[in-house]
């Protein structure tokens, strides 16, 4: 049982780390400036000079995929982290305190949940105007109710455990109990969810950029590379294909991390 988990963790974790490093160090790794246009070399397939080919403006696709990864992964990781930070606390408060706090927080996240995630993201990004920040905010808000719901239900389970009563009897205050006892005991499933929703956020970012609501051209992101590539998919499929492959691989990698963590974080088998 340990072997497949270990392999999955190693592959998923290694791949995720590699993607993040490639994106982070893209200015040093990328062979060319991702914004450099050259009409002489437009719409080329892979060549010795341009490994991933060039797009309609003659820009190097490899460099654009690397630089695009900065935007896509930054949004894909930052947005769920922000969302988790807010959502986990809100969920713990709702789950622990119950009563009107719970009703208020649960009903407002239900309200957000009633929109399809992508539609909600599109609405928020459109309202805020397309930019890097609004993509982060849109995705963070879209994922927020999921974190609230997950942390609320996990908190409700932990709250009924006698060790919480023992802690109250010991004289610990509510805030301290939530921090010291509830959070560590619900962290496992939340970390798993976080890595799975990073994968979701990468897809959402791609979708927003594809719709023109993410990072703005000429700055590359995987989503807007697909969008640009769509106009001539038959003549030059390479930009869209490589950007799409980058999205697929990232989503796969973070999903693998999530699945592996799910097994690893079981308090009695792992850690």
């Amino acid at each position: 049982m340990n072997v497949p988990i270990g392999k999955l963790t190693a592959i998923g974790g290694g791949l995720s780390l590699l993607l993040i490093l490639l994106a982070a160090f893209s200015p040093w790794i990328a062979p060319l400036d991702p914004l450099d246009q050259s009409f002489l070399t437009a719409n080329q397939g892979p060549t010795a000079e341009h490994w991933f080919g060039t797009d309609a403006f003659g820009r190097d696709v490899l460099s654009r995929v690397l630089f695009g990864g900065r935007v896509s992964l930054a949004i894909g990781i930052l947005a769920p982290l922000l969302s988790a930070l807010a959502g986990i606390w809100a969920g713990m408060l709702a789950g622990y305190l119950g009563g009107w706090t719970d009703r208020l927080l649960s009903r407002s996240s239900d309200l957000l949940m009633s929109f399809p995630t992508l539609l909600l993201g599109v609405m928020i990004a459109a309202a805020l105007g397309p930019s890097f920040q609004s993509a982060v905010i849109a995705i963070a808000v879209a994922l927020f109710p999921r974190f609230v719901r997950l942390s609320r239900s996990a908190t409700q389970v932990v709250r009924r455990e006698p060790f919480i009563d023992a802690s109250i009897a010991a004289g610990r205050g509510t805030a301290s109990i939530v921090l010291r006892h509830v959070l560590p005991n619900i962290a496992g499933p939340l970390v798993v969810a976080l890595s799975l929703w990073i994968a979701t956020a990468i897809r959402l970012e791609a979708a927003l950029s594809f719709l023109g609501l993410g990072a703005q051209p000429p700055a590359p992101s995987w989503g807007n590379m697909i969008r640009d590539g769509m106009s001539d998919l038959v003549g030059d499929p390479w930009p869209a294909a490589f950007a799409g492959a980058a999205i697929t691989i990232s989503v796969l990698a973070f999903n693998m991390v999530g699945d592996a963590l799910r097994d690893l974080l079981d308090p009695e088998t792992g850690l």
Partner: protein, 322 residues
């Protein structure tokens, strides 16, 4: 100090339902003296655990009063309540659930010390935890382990060490040995008795196991459907039970002596739902000696001699028809 350590008057807990309410605990009164063990016995659902939780304000009573060391415990503000909680601790039934699975033994046992700022340095804290572990028969090698590495009996010892940490005067033990193997039960019960002698602890010992109760309790209070039906010293209550329910309860306990003749009183029917309690004496529909008055009026807890009190209109050890 002359008064009782803990004095409970008319303690009541009603849980609201969509229609009506569950009278989990209905006007329970008793005292616990310093250094004494009072056992609360009764069947599942009779309200004994709820009573135990109310003693520590883990559940808020609907009505009634609790005085700890002569001070009104229910009226305490947040800060005063925290200070008081040092003096009363709890041990739960399920030693698997009462210890946080993520924490190490050192931090679990030290929790009350940390909360009340009872240790000045990490070294002092560790020393105190080791001292507590040794008191309950564990050792310093267990400090860095997690709860899942222990057996049920060892975990209950950890829970007892935690309860002892702030040097309480009263420990509410809610079925502390019911989840343990019989051989381990005896060890834990004996440990609790040793600790009582050593520190002059008072216990409110909640249990349904009459053999254990007889062994550990100085006094016994019997509950039925949220009310106290009889309270007295262990000796008198076991030898001369005055309430028919107590008699039936005692007769149902297995006696490990094949020579002794047993007359088992089998009660008719089931315990009524606490959401729909009988009028008058809660026990009257199942009582083998019930009369008309039992349906109409609630019997008070009356002294039947030497502080032994029973809530029965007839208040004497009857011969119950078998």
């Amino acid at each position: 100090m002359t008064g009782p350590l803990l004095s409970v008057q008319g303690l009541t807990k009603h849980f609201p339902l969509k229609t009506g309410q569950v009278k989990a605990v209905d006007g329970v009164s008793f005292d616990v003296a310093a250094g004494e063990t009072l056992a609360l016995v009764g069947e599942s659902g009779c309200g004994k655990s709820t009573t135990g939780r109310m003693l520590l304000r883990l559940t808020d009573p609907t009505a009634g009063s609790i005085a700890f060391d002569g001070e009104d415990f229910l009226g305490l503000g947040r800060a005063a309540l925290r200070r008081r909680r040092r003096e009363m601790q709890i041990v739960f039934q399920d030693p698997y659930a009462s210890l946080s699975p993520r924490n190490r033994v050192e931090d679990i046992v030290a929790e009350p010390l940390d909360v009340h700022g009872l240790c000045e340095s990490r070294a002092a804290r560790r020393e105190r935890v080791i001292e507590l572990l040794r008191l309950v028969g564990l050792d310093a090698i267990h400090l860095r382990r997690h709860p899942f590495e222990f057996s049920g009996g060892q975990r209950q010892r950890i829970a007892i060490a935690r309860a002892l940490a702030p040097q309480p005067r009263l420990i509410v033990a809610d079925e502390p040995v019911s989840a343990l193997d019989v051989s381990v039960q005896a060890q834990v019960v004996n440990l609790m008795q040793d600790l009582q002698e050593k520190f002059g602890l008072a216990y409110v010992f909640i249990s349904h196991d009459l053999a254990v109760v007889r062994h550990i309790a100085h006094r016994v209070a019997v509950m039925y459907l949220g009310r106290l039906v009889e309270i007295g010293t262990t000796e008198t209550l076991f030898s001369a039970p005055h309430h028919p329910y107590t008699q039936a309860l005692l007769s149902a306990a297995p006696v490990p002596d094949p020579e002794r003749k047993r007359t088992r009183i089998v009660l008719a029917g089931d315990v009524p739902s606490p959401a729909n309690v009988p009028s008058g004496c809660h026990f009257h529909p199942r009582c083998p000696v019930a009369q008309a008055i039992c349906r109409e009026s609630v019997p008070a807890l009356r002294d039947v001699g030497g502080g032994h009190r029973a809530a029965c209109h007839f208040g004497k050890p009857f011969p119950i028809p078998v």
